[in-house]
């Protein structure tokens, strides 16, 4: 990946790169549907998809069911969550002006985790927590965390990076304490396992019904953020620079915080807190196409989608007996990848 040469000149053009990533994503999605406990030929995959998209009746046999009811929604959910995490990571890094910030830094995911874990642990004993499903409980938790962080971060001049990070980390740890307590209260091993599985991030809940909300959130998030790409460029240079080129800094920060929080809440509520994607993907993309958000946002979305689709295939097929939570694998490959990127960056900076 000869992204940045020693002189700092970039060699990768954005348009061919986007095209390449688009092709790669199509191939990856096909592979994700074809591979699994039962392998299905890629031709059969597309024939099922086209027949279903054309409104055709399901063909008898299990392949049709596996492709259309199980693997296509799952592959699409992986792509959506990956794209969303790429976007949310890029926006969070601009929001707190730190290229190594993580979307989970602002405490929203801790709120979602608390909601989900409460639903799993208390739900079994109380017959459904307030009647909420797992995802709804997680999203409610995310909103609660967002409200707390908002109230703390807005004080004293409003949403400065330092205030946002301090409020986010503080609230996040506070909520994580309650989550840990609830995990200890789990009644049996099965419950503990499902809590852990959720906390590590997993796409196993994918169905067609689950898809529409993340699809809507990711599309809306991309549009709202892309509309602010130019002001975001000024924001990463500094508040005074941004003010000097006509950006209403406090308002932009507020908007970015709302958008990233809602999008994070939706993503975490359908898949758990999948680690490292939101941190690594924008960073990687920035090394390839540079820091201009007009290019960075769509490329982070595409790259995030591609990465998570591929990783989920690995999670489903690596072990015969069980499926790995996707967050385990993103962390295992993400951390070394990040260190490698940082190392290259240091070299390039000389």
């Amino acid at each position: 990946m000869a992204a940045v040469t020693g002189t700092g000149r970039r060699t990768v053009r954005p348009a061919p790169l986007a095209l390449g990533l688009g092709v790669a994503l199509t191939v990856a999605l096909t592979a994700a549907v074809a591979l699994g406990s039962t392998d299905i030929a890629p031709g059969e995959v597309w024939s099922v998809v086209f027949r279903r998209l054309g409104g055709g009746a399901p063909r008898p046999g299990t392949d049709d069911l596996i492709v259309w009811q199980l693997r296509v929604p799952r592959a699409l959910l992986a792509a959506l969550v990956g794209a969303g995490l790429g976007l949310v990571g890029t926006a969070t890094q601009a929001l707190v002006r730190n290229p190594l910030a993580d979307p989970y830094l602002l405490g929203i995911s801790n709120g979602a985790s608390l909601g989900a874990v409460a639903a799993i642990v208390l739900g079994a004993s109380t017959g459904g927590l307030l009647g909420l499903g797992l995802s709804a409980a997680a999203f409610a938790g995310a909103l609660g965390a967002f409200a707390l962080v908002w109230c703390m971060a807005r004080r004293g001049g409003g949403f400065s990076p330092l205030r946002l990070v301090l409020a986010g980390v503080g609230i996040g740890q506070f909520l994580a304490g309650f989550t840990s307590y609830l995990v200890l209260q789990a009644e049996d091993e099965q419950q503990t396992r499902s809590v852990l599985f959720w906390l590590m991030g997993s796409l196993s809940g994918a169905t067609w019904e689950v898809l529409w909300l993340p699809a809507l959130a990711v599309t809306a998030g991309l549009l709202v953020l892309q509309a602010r790409a130019r002001p975001m460029n000024a924001l990463i240079m500094g508040d005074e620079t941004a003010a000097g080129v006509g950006v209403d800094v406090t308002r932009l920060r507020r908007e970015l915080f709302v958008v990233t929080s809602l999008l994070t809440g939706v993503l975490v509520s359908v898949s758990g807190a999948i680690a490292f994607v939101g941190l690594m993907v924008p960073h990687l993309c920035r090394l390839i196409v540079g820091g201009d958000h007009r290019r960075l946002l769509p490329l982070s979305a595409l790259t995030g989608a591609l990465l998570l689709v591929v990783v989920d295939v690995v999670c489903r097929t690596a072990m015969d007996t069980q499926e790995l939570p996707v967050g385990v694998v993103t962390a295992m490959i993400g951390a070394p990848a990040l260190l490698f990127i940082l190392d290259r960056r240091m070299e390039a900076g000389r």
Binding site: V4, T7, G8, R9, R10, Q93, R97, N98, P99, Q226, A227, R228, R230, P231, N233, A234, I236, M237, G238, D239, E240, T241, A243, G244, V245, G246, V247, D248, V249, R286, L287, G290, G291, D292, R294, G349
Partner: protein, 282 residues
């Protein structure tokens, strides 16, 4: 470095008059600027000088709208800047603040094109006019061949020139510069002042180096404890008495042997508590 083939074209309208009326600005309930009046006439270079903490940067930050005044007004050609939209104000006033970039991977061109932000709606790309303005702005600061370099890999002097090009790309009628020569070696300082002299916008600039201020500015405004204590031409303002009173240093003021500008020779051997205006012995 050659300063290109002259100045960068301005936006609609010529230079603009800036008036600061009874400006008060405070942080955490305490007024750092308490009743500043000053006027920069059309096309004039107005220098703000004064000791650390005298309120120079605070006044300038209010002009480019990073800070909001607690009382008083900043007028651009008679219009209160708080009543202009942020975009409208930024098409008239461009700033070179003291903050110095970031770790994000921006190229020189991406930094300069930021100056086009106030002219752009959401989703609008760069058009030929933007590209031309960016190229012209980079040429004006002598950085024409550097558009694809990484901003964070530039030297201090190069960065300042690129940030000045960004301000030029904003096509403003007013330039605001906060200590633009800080951390530059003497050659880069001289070059930067030359670039500022070559353009004819109304300019508000804060400078620590009083000799640089004396050579560059049409008028100087001396700030002390949040108010303007003297205004006028460098020759009229920079007297030994004022330097003793405001800066607490002993100095002689002569004429520069090469340029004829006021030249301040500081007594770097002065002892603490000495009578600052006493004639040197012998």
């Amino acid at each position: 470095m050659k300063a290109g083939d002259g100045t960068v074209a301005k936006g609609e309208g010529g230079p603009m008059r800036v008036e600061i009326e009874d400006l008060h600005v405070g942080y955490a309930g305490r007024d750092v600027v308490a009743g500043v009046h000053l006027v920069a006439a059309e096309g004039e270079i107005a220098g703000l000088v004064g000791p650390n903490g005298s309120g120079k940067s605070t006044v300038l930050r209010t002009v480019y709208r990073h800070l909001r005044p607690t009382a008083g007004r900043v007028l651009l050609a008679g219009a209160d800047i708080r009543e202009l939209s942020p975009g409208r104000a930024a098409r008239q006033v461009a700033a070179l603040p003291q903050e110095r970039g970031s770790d994000f991977e921006l190229t020189v061109r991406e930094v300069v094109v930021m100056g086009r932000t106030p002219y752009k709606r959401a989703f609008a790309g760069d058009d030929d006019g933007d590209r031309e303005t960016v190229a012209r702005s980079l040429a004006a600061v002598g950085m024409a061949g550097h558009a694809t370099r990484r901003f964070s890999a530039l030297s201090g002097g190069e960065r300042q020139r690129v940030l000045l090009a960004r301000a030029f790309a904003q096509e403003p009628q007013v330039l605001v510069l906060d200590e633009p020569t800080n951390h530059l070696d003497i050659r880069h300082q001289v070059e930067l002042l030359g670039l500022l002299r070559a353009q004819r916008r109304t300019t508000l600039i804060s400078l620590h180096d009083l000799n640089a201020a004396a050579s560059l500015c049409d008028r100087l405004h001396v700030l002390h404890k949040g108010t303007v204590v003297a205004s006028g031409t460098p020759r009229a303002v920079l007297t030994p008495e004022l330097l003793a009173e405001v800066f607490g240093v002993r100095a002689a003021v002569t004429a520069h042997p090469l340029t004829g500008d006021p030249l301040i020779a500081f007594d770097h051997r002065q002892t603490a508590g000495a009578d600052l205006l006493r004639e040197p012995a012998g």
